[in-house]
Assembly symmetry: D2
Homo-oligomer: 249 residues x 4
Amino acid sequence: MSEVKKIRVTVWNEFRHELKDEAVRRVYPDGIHRAIGEGLTGEIPVEVRYATLDQDEDHGLSQEVLDNTDVLIWWGHMAHKDVSDAVVDRVQARVLAGMGLIVLHSGHKSKILMRLLGTSCNLRWREAGERERIWVIEPAHPIAKDLPEYFELPHTEMYGERFDIPTPLQTVFITWYQGGEVFRSGVTYERGTGRIFYFAPGHETFPIFYDANIRKVIANAVQWAAPRIDRDFSICPMVPPLEDLGQAE
Amino acid sequence: MSEVKKIRVTVWNEFRHELKDEAVRRVYPDGIHRAIGEGLTGEIPVEVRYATLDQDEDHGLSQEVLDNTDVLIWWGHMAHKDVSDAVVDRVQARVLAGMGLIVLHSGHKSKILMRLLGTSCNLRWREAGERERIWVIEPAHPIAKDLPEYFELPHTEMYGERFDIPTPLQTVFITWYQGGEVFRSGVTYERGTGRIFYFAPGHETFPIFYDANIRKVIANAVQWAAPRIDRDFSICPMVPPLEDLGQAE
Amino acid sequence: MSEVKKIRVTVWNEFRHELKDEAVRRVYPDGIHRAIGEGLTGEIPVEVRYATLDQDEDHGLSQEVLDNTDVLIWWGHMAHKDVSDAVVDRVQARVLAGMGLIVLHSGHKSKILMRLLGTSCNLRWREAGERERIWVIEPAHPIAKDLPEYFELPHTEMYGERFDIPTPLQTVFITWYQGGEVFRSGVTYERGTGRIFYFAPGHETFPIFYDANIRKVIANAVQWAAPRIDRDFSICPMVPPLEDLGQAE
Amino acid sequence: MSEVKKIRVTVWNEFRHELKDEAVRRVYPDGIHRAIGEGLTGEIPVEVRYATLDQDEDHGLSQEVLDNTDVLIWWGHMAHKDVSDAVVDRVQARVLAGMGLIVLHSGHKSKILMRLLGTSCNLRWREAGERERIWVIEPAHPIAKDLPEYFELPHTEMYGERFDIPTPLQTVFITWYQGGEVFRSGVTYERGTGRIFYFAPGHETFPIFYDANIRKVIANAVQWAAPRIDRDFSICPMVPPLEDLGQAE
């Protein structure tokens, strides 16, 4: 009997807002990470585990955890600076070696995303609870699978252009905001043999991670970002010539 | 009387090989940086200054020097780790704000290039003094201006694929090696509002930086990488809506 | 005395709407092409000529005219099918050989743009005279030179995603529409050694080609798209080996 | 009982060389198309059919055949001009609607590839039976699955740069030739919702389509290029506003 191989997902959450802010706790009583993880189960064959900033000195991301993670989902907001550089190094190395990384919303200013993209990831923003309409720009992209031509979020935080990112490999989504801005809200990259997806929607006081379309996007992205190869490119090997150099020198 | 505005170039060199290794000193008696800088003069309107690793605690790259640099050329090889992270931060910030950066040869493993590209920049290599033929892939690119369809270097260090870089914005050159490898030897990127060019040829014991074609490439790249805009994207501004949100909430 | 070399621009217009429709004639009494051409003069050193669909059997685009054109600006709307395939072949060949091409608004369905991009260039649309806000996504791109972070058009035709184009080399502008859509409204491509810019704004009954920002974009695009090289790639040459093949066979 | 869905592949071959040239017939007695098709069977779940230029007025590519094709493989060499424009239109429409297209070797000058890419696809060439080494540039790309870092063909036709194609979405392979050239020998594109892969190796008098690595590449490409979505983008729909335009006019 054949068995479908489950994708091993680790959902990482800062998990501070939920503990100190009643408004956040009301929306995400068990933490944003749980809402994200539960959104995956049922959609696709996954094995979900969780890790949080204050869990231990590795923020729950020991080498062993990462070595057993196919796709890491990242949520952070107020404490990006508290993530240790050693953990950022470790996560980067795993992405370069093939692990998928999905960075959500305010994770645009996470150390790990800025490390992998090389830019500030700055943007314009506003919290006015306005409407957002997410347009599918690449309808055939695996991350857009089974989505309509566009979908809406009734109340959202605005993240607007100019978004300081490198030209994406592909821009899967572009958002329209009621207040007058646009945003490249779903963008893909590859670094090393790993795949990266940044997805803008998702605020801590809006129930965005319960939305069916949002959950579908994240589930699609997990499948798209799953490791594709297991080969070591972590050194610069010195190699002999493949052709006879004869009188080279 | 109109005056052509000179591009302010800073050539940065590790400048250690030349001091300790007679073979290197024979080829570049005043340092590789001088050979590179002299190659620019005459070709294009530039104002060249030099900076080296052991010059001072900023490696010659104080904020003031960088603020007055349009294009930074980077050469490093054996001492990448001795470059302070604070200087790397500063250079990165200037690139994001529009300064051009040209990284040469062994600079592929410099902290600054890995910082901006997000990858290991690993590759295969060999020092056998073999022949290299550099093919122009994008003949209309400004960096390829006035070059023939291909040009050769009689003796070179081999840098071969797989080169661990993100998909370039454009691949201007691909190199053929006598020993059987290929290499994306001239690749462009943009980060923030700054432009980056990595160019592979150029070893410390081969007189590559005296070669006419190589000098033309670097001069072309300096012109291509010169700043194009002066605008500050270093913060995430909170902005009011541009449209009436009415009954948003 | 040095003289600035003028860019030779040919503005091509279908020029039928203006002759048959009073509403169009009121806005563009001398034809849309004249408004576009006049917008260039004064902005940049150009030599402008005009060509129209019904001018002669070549639609004013004889081989001689094209051979003396650095940048061709294209406006068409209701009569794309009346453009002869022979003229499309000729324009394509000139773009591949280095001529710049700027396609405006309804030219998205021109034979020449579909020929060069390979796609249908289909989109969603609506004529409701709504507001459009054009966001600058690549502020350092030459086409965005001297533009603010965004600019507005009070009344416009809506062109919305999904726009069936290949992933652009760069997306310079993204538009927000009052009615709820977004659009990649300024996109660049390269084909052969020629550069292509598609720019969405510009309807025949709205005075868009008199707008200062729109004129700046088109003038910037003319400078960006001007030919960069003069080399013939129109054949597949059979070439001898550059290395000794020895016992190859 | 679950059943794997087979990919419906149509291998199209000009099939003239084999009928008139003894040297070709000796290598591909049943036609190149049969060798390609047989290479797929066993590797992946496919249903292969064949079509050839002189089969009927549609060259075996009726609307019905194309509507039932998931991935079309294209081989042509001496008779590109004999392919009717109507069939090219039909194939293009199917690619835009999601059908995969794999173009092999001398198909670089096929009408369909030039139509989809918009360029001449010209290149330098030589028939000297020299050695070719194909380097994997994107090791994690699905088309490179299970390949070594490089692989060789002992005798090949040389196809060299500059290759007149648009900047690829991804460059999966770059080839080294014994005679001194390089070539972007495996490149991907997307047009509409369809995927395109051009793969350079494969001459009519060399037994390249029997090579295990070549067969693996083509089988991988078939899986990568299989349709991902079934949605109609073949018109420009006029749409009502999604937001209240109020006092728009």
